[in-house]
Symmetry: C2
Subunit: 293 residues, 2 copies
């Protein structure tokens, strides 16, 4: 898997917010440092879990700037830059490149539905051509339950043929392990990253590259342990134990709304209130839910 880029454990980082719903930059940078210290290979900031789809372009750029100003190596950041508007995806991606990031996670345009493969290809192609930067590396983001625009194997094939070296991987949040395996088989050298924590281990065994996941906000050390030791028979029992903790954590945050549950637990862990703030349309857990969690 060393030949795959990106590879490893990437945290789909939560975003703490102040009472006025602006991102708490200081707490966010601290969180990134903690995640890296716990063993994350990088931070996939400004994704679905980070509530970035509720942030303006200005807010997204400012948070990325703060992460880098705060000392996070841009090579370890995989910011989400794909939005509904083609030109804004270009702007956000150019900004990421301008501050030293080279690999971004890119949603398909997600407003219009029933998009043809031809239209989806044309959209990604126009974005790459407009950015026109040989450093650019794109991890496609397949999350049909939110985007409602699946990224098909045929589109990936065309993009990789048309832009060699640019479309390096895919975050698969479909929850469908068979789909992830078929991508690994179809595209040698393509970095398939599990979007759900419990699926990283079975995907690694099939040639996957790692994960970009939400529960890693809480169990990064366990994921890192599994990632580095799953192939070592001498550590099979320890890997199984770490995996069991990952599955338990994931189950725990899946009873109520997942992002709100993760933020509640992170607030308890850090003692920082800004972790419980959420931006509408997502809401914090109720008092009863918090108690039950």
């Amino acid at each position: 898997m060393a030949n795959l880029h990106p590879n490893g454990v990437f945290c789909a980082a939560l975003t703490p917010m102040l009472p006025d719903l602006t991102p708490d930059h200081e707490a966010f940078v601290q969180h990134c440092k903690t995640l890296l210290a716990e063993g994350c290979d990088g931070v996939a900031m400004l994704g679905t879990t980070g509530e970035a789809n509720s942030f303006s372009g200005t807010e997204r750029r400012a948070l990325l700037d703060s992460a880098i100003a705060g000392g996070i190596d841009p090579a370890r950041l995989l910011p989400g830059t794909g939005v509904a508007a083609l030109t804004e995806t270009v702007e956000l991606t150019r900004h990421a490149l301008s501050v030293g990031v080279t690999t971004v996670v890119m949603l398909p345009p997600f407003y219009y539905k029933g998009i043809s493969d031809e239209g989806l290809f044309a959209s990604y192609a126009a974005i790459v051509e407009r950015i026109a930067d040989p450093r650019l590396r794109i991890v496609l983001y397949h999350i049909p339950q939110f985007s409602a625009v699946p990224i098909t194997i045929s589109v990936i094939e065309r993009l990789r043929a048309a832009f060699p070296g640019v479309f390096v991987g895919l975050k698969d949040s479909s929850g469908d392990l068979a789909h992830m395996e078929s991508l690994v088989q179809h595209f040698p050298g393509f970095s398939v990253l599990a979007g759900a924590d419990p699926l990283m281990l079975p995907l690694l065994r099939k040639g996957g590259a790692g994960c970009i996941t939400a529960t890693s906000n809480l169990v990064a050390a366990d994921l890192s342990y599994v990632f580095h030791n799953y192939a070592n028979p001498a550590l099979a029992a320890e890997v199984d134990e770490a995996q069991a903790r990952i599955v338990a954590a994931r189950n725990r945050v899946s009873v109520f709304a997942q992002i709100a549950s993760l933020k509640t637990l992170l607030a308890q862990k850090t003692g920082k209130a800004s972790w419980t703030t959420m931006r509408p349309p997502l809401l914090p857990l109720t008092a009863a839910e918090t108690a039950a969690l």
Copy 2:
């Protein structure tokens, strides 16, 4: 229906684009003038039909500025200002108010799915509170086939109670006439606008306020005729004929992709090539489709 605001025929205006995919401002302003001259009561620019969800905030603001600079009365513009990000919806709406527009069409935040009524209410409430402008009038935009976030009767009820006078109407693009009728019955004084041209007439007969529709880019005069004369028994035959032309036009543009079909026909009508350009992920008709159309 005179007591309803807005009421009348509003065109969900198409957006012409230059070969580099930037909006053709000059052709757009001319189109707005034509629509008003043909009898439209206003232009609902920057909506789904206008491909606005593929435009950045900067592009949206510039097109609205051009329409007003070009002489279109802002009181006759209903721009779409609802995007996925709460803060950007606030920015776009504030901009519209700053140039003299008072009534906007607002999508729900459409990235996150499975949003609760509580979360949807919180989102619209936060937007209104942040804008904090007594001039603001909002037409909600119910288009579940694209937004995948339906606007429920319970949310409308809460918004109208919490912000009297702000939530003045709803564009219903569900295609479900019974749903539109139930909104008319539930909310006296609330302006329910059909999102599909053929449904304006039956909705008017049930107390609806008019329409915001795509085919009006081609058949505005017929829609205006129906709107002004449907209740006059002496003109029943003429109204039926106009309605038949509206239905025929709508059927004609529904064989292939609707927005592309409308733009192809408008290019033929005006002789302006910029009408056939479309921004990915939407694509122009193929040569074969154009011939068949």
